[in-house]
Structures are given as structure tokens and as C-alpha cells.
């Protein structure tokens, strides 16, 4: 049974599906859900894209999407697409705000990574807002985060790093 339902309603339902690693963000905030389409056979198709190639959350996200829509008695196909490649530009403004509230610094505009050693990005501390922070490691607790430390309040924090 396919209920009479619109793509907008499906997008709304997807707002309930959280990123398993960053539970403050929905998969819509994160920009992981790319499209919601009705296929010729009448079934809905959700296109998702990974943040990083090896992101272990993708399978969970796929299952969570199906589970959420099953509650609405909707059987959907979830398809993984690689192109166009995900970028932190797709993170919604709402998502960035939620990240900061949660204690993760949102991505800042950065210089091109291929320019070695030119990186002078300032990442403000999400807790005390100081700009006097230091990168501890470019690689953090998940593939999408770097590890920072605030020189003023001394708190270590995660930075959702820029991917362009």
C-alpha cells in the first residue's frame, strides 16, 4: 500500500533520523540525504551520500531511514551515491548552530589543503568562544573531526573539519 504522501512529508520524517556518531545532527542537517524521488514503480527512493569513503555510519543511517519510514508504512529504497562528492558546504546553518551548542566546532572556511603548510585557519572554542586555540591533531574521534584544544579555557574539543 502506497499512501498518498508528498516528498516534503518524507523530508520531514527524515528530520527524525539522527547521525549515529553525531546524534545532535539529523541526516538532513548533515547533507547526507541528497534526493527523495518517486520511482516509476511507485516506490519512493532516497539517495544518500557518505561523508567519508570509509564512514562506518552509512549502513546504520540506511537502516535508520528505512525503519523511520516503516513507521509511516512506507517501504523505500535507499541508494548510496558517490557523485557529487559530499562537502561540508552542505551542512545546514541550523546544523552548524547545533554542532556548536553540542560542543563541536563547526567547519570554518579554510585554505586549500593541497597548499602545504599555509593553513592558518582560526577555529573558535565552542565552549568559551576564544579564538586562541590550537590544533592537536588533524585526525580525531571520527573521520570527519579534528582534535583541538583551547589555550584559554584549556578544554579539548572536536572540530568538524572542512571537506571541500
Amino acid at each position: 500500500m502506497t499512501k498518498d504522501i508528498t516528498a516534503e512529508q518524507i523530508w520531514d520524517f527524515l528530520e527524525d533520523v539522527k547521525d549515529p556518531e553525531v546524534p545532535v545532527l539529523t541526516v538532513v542537517d548533515l547533507g547526507v540525504v541528497r534526493e527523495v524521488n518517486k520511482q516509476k514503480n511507485g516506490r519512493w527512493q532516497i539517495l544518500i551520500t557518505p561523508t567519508y569513503s570509509g564512514c562506518p555510519a552509512m549502513q546504520v543511517i540506511e537502516e535508520d531511514i528505512k525503519e523511520r519510514l516503516q513507521k509511516e508504512e512506507l517501504e523505500v529504497d535507499v541508494k548510496l551515491v558517490l557523485s557529487p562528492a559530499w562537502t561540508t558546504d552542505w551542512l545546514s546553518e541550523e546544523g552548524k548552530r547545533k554542532l556548536e551548542e553540542y560542543g563541536i566546532a563547526p567547519p570554518q572556511d579554510e585554505v586549500d589543503k593541497s597548499v602545504l603548510f599555509g593553513d592558518k585557519t582560526i577555529v573558535p572554542c565552542p565552549l568559551c568562544k576564544s579564538k586562541n586555540t590550537k590544533m592537536v591533531s588533524q585526525f580525531g574521534s571520527t573521520a570527519c573531526k579534528a582534535h583541538y584544544k583551547c589555550n584559554d579555557c584549556l578544554e579539548p574539543f572536536d572540530y568538524f573539519k572542512c571537506l571541500k
Partner: protein, 252 residues
């Protein structure tokens, strides 16, 4: 050789490079010199194994014989792996792991830059996705090469020894044969000889900064692309394949 056979072989070579290097890096898990580097190396491993998954999935589809990405990753014999010799070399000390990564990252970024323009849409998509990750890898390995090379006498000597040792495997990165020729004509693959001089200049710039140098003599090894490996790959595969060989089809 048909285009399909060439494409399958080409994808396996790319996938095996990333899987084997990713596996090597994963061996550092719990053994990194400092916590941040333990995490960094396993992050790199995750990216590379992720890229391997995408490449194997596509290779399996191209082959069309009912195999999937796991069959390709876990259930082939040593001679069927087509990775370059560089990536299977043992980790050694942290400096050697960094030099191996450095030599590979600089190659991979130039390769992906060109494969983004491939006429094969799936290859172009994988390259466009992966290159964003490789930019971080390249920055990480290059910065460490400088820090270690231009560090203490001990770190300089050790990392110079690794540069000398691993430089034997540089030419093989650019290896090309009939597989590449066929796919270059089709606009699917890129000609690696076109960016060899850029590669040489890029690694030299970092090595100079690091007060390190490549050895003068040019004795080079190859064989990986034809499945002829160094003694190290067999041991690596024994560990990589153990679970699937012992408990076929096991999932968790």
C-alpha cells in the same frame, strides 16, 4: 584483452593498493607512538579501506561473475593481488610508515586529480570523493617527513634510511602496460608518465625542506602489478584473510 578485462584489472590494481596500505596502517592500532598518531594512522586506514570498498564494488560489477567486494578483498591468492610493492612493505618504525605514506600520497593525489576527469563516471566519482581525503593524508605525511627529517640527529638518520630504502619502489608507482594503454585510449585511465616530473618535483620540495635526499643510484624493483610480490605480502594476507578462510561467509 577486452575493455572489460582491462577495466577489471585496472580497478583491482587501484583497489589492492588502497586495501593493502590501509591494512598495513591498521596494524598500528593500539601501537602508535602517541595517542594522536594512533588515531591519525587508523583514520587514514579507514579512508583507504573505504576507497578500496568502492573500487572493489565497481570491479565486481564490471567482472560480472557473481563475486562481491568481500570476495575480492578476502578470497584471492597472493599472486592475484595487483598492488605495488611499496604498500606491502612492513611498517618498521613510525618514520618508515610515514615515508611509505608520503611517497604514496603524493602519487595518489596526482592520479586522482586526473581520474576525476575520466570518461568512466564511476571512476571519476570515486576519484572526486577520495581526493578530498587524500589532501589530508598528504598534509599529514608531508609535515611529519619535515618534522622528523629536520628534527634530531636520531630522527634524521632513521627517516633518511627509510627514504633510501623505500625509494626503490617509486618507479613502480608509475608502471604501465597494455591494461593502461587500452584504457588511456578510451579516456578511462590516465597516463602516469604525464605527471612523473610533477611528482618528482613535489616530493623533492618536501625532502629538501626536511634536509633529506633521495639516493643517487636508481635501482628499482617491480612486479606487484603482475602479482609478483615481496616476501611480506603473504604474511599480511594470512592475517587479513584468516577469519574468512576459517569461517567462510562470516559476518559481524
Amino acid at each position: 584483452m577486452t575493455k572489460q578485462e582491462a577495466l577489471f584489472e585496472y580497478l583491482l590494481r587501484r583497489a589492492d593498493d588502497t586495501l593493502i596500505l590501509g591494512h598495513r596502517l591498521s596494524e598500528w592500532c593500539g601501537h602508535g607512538p602517541i595517542l594522536e598518531e594512533d588515531i591519525a594512522l587508523t583514520n587514514l586506514a579507514l579512508d583507504l579501506v573505504g576507497q578500496a570498498t568502492e573500487l572493489y564494488q565497481y570491479a565486481a560489477k564490471v567482472e560480472d561473475k557473481g563475486r562481491d567486494e568481500d570476495d575480492l578483498a578476502f578470497l584471492r591468492l597472493e599472486r592475484e593481488y595487483k598492488n605495488v610493492l611499496l604498500v606491502e612493505q612492513t611498517n618498521g618504525d613510525f618514520g618508515k610508515t610515514i615515508v611509505r605514506q608520503f611517497l604514496f600520497d603524493h602519487f595518489q593525489i596526482l592520479l586522482y586529480e586526473r581520474l576525476m576527469e575520466s570518461k568512466d563516471e564511476q571512476i571519476a566519482a570515486i576519484a572526486a570523493k577520495s581526493i578530498k581525503e587524500v589532501k589530508y593524508h598528504l598534509k599529514h605525511s608531508s609535515e611529519w617527513v619535515i618534522r622528523l627529517g629536520d628534527g634530531t640527529e636520531e630522527s634524521h638518520n632513521r627517516v633518511q634510511e627509510s627514504v633510501t630504502d623505500l625509494s626503490r619502489f617509486i618507479d613502480e608507482l608509475f608502471y604501465q602496460d597494455e591494461v593502461d594503454e587500452l584504457l588511456i585510449k578510451e579516456g578511462v585511465a590516465c597516463d602516469t608518465s604525464e605527471f612523473r616530473s610533477t611528482y618528482d618535483a613535489n616530493i623533492k620540495a618536501v625532502l629538501d625542506e626536511a634536509t633529506l635526499s633521495l639516493p643517487k643510484e636508481k635501482w628499482q624493483l617491480d612486479g606487484g602489478r603482475k602479482g609478483i610480490h615481496s616476501e611480506h605480502l603473504g604474511y599480511l594476507l594470512a592475517e587479513l584473510q584468516y577469519v574468512q578462510r576459517t569461517h567462510p561467509g562470516m559476518e559481524w
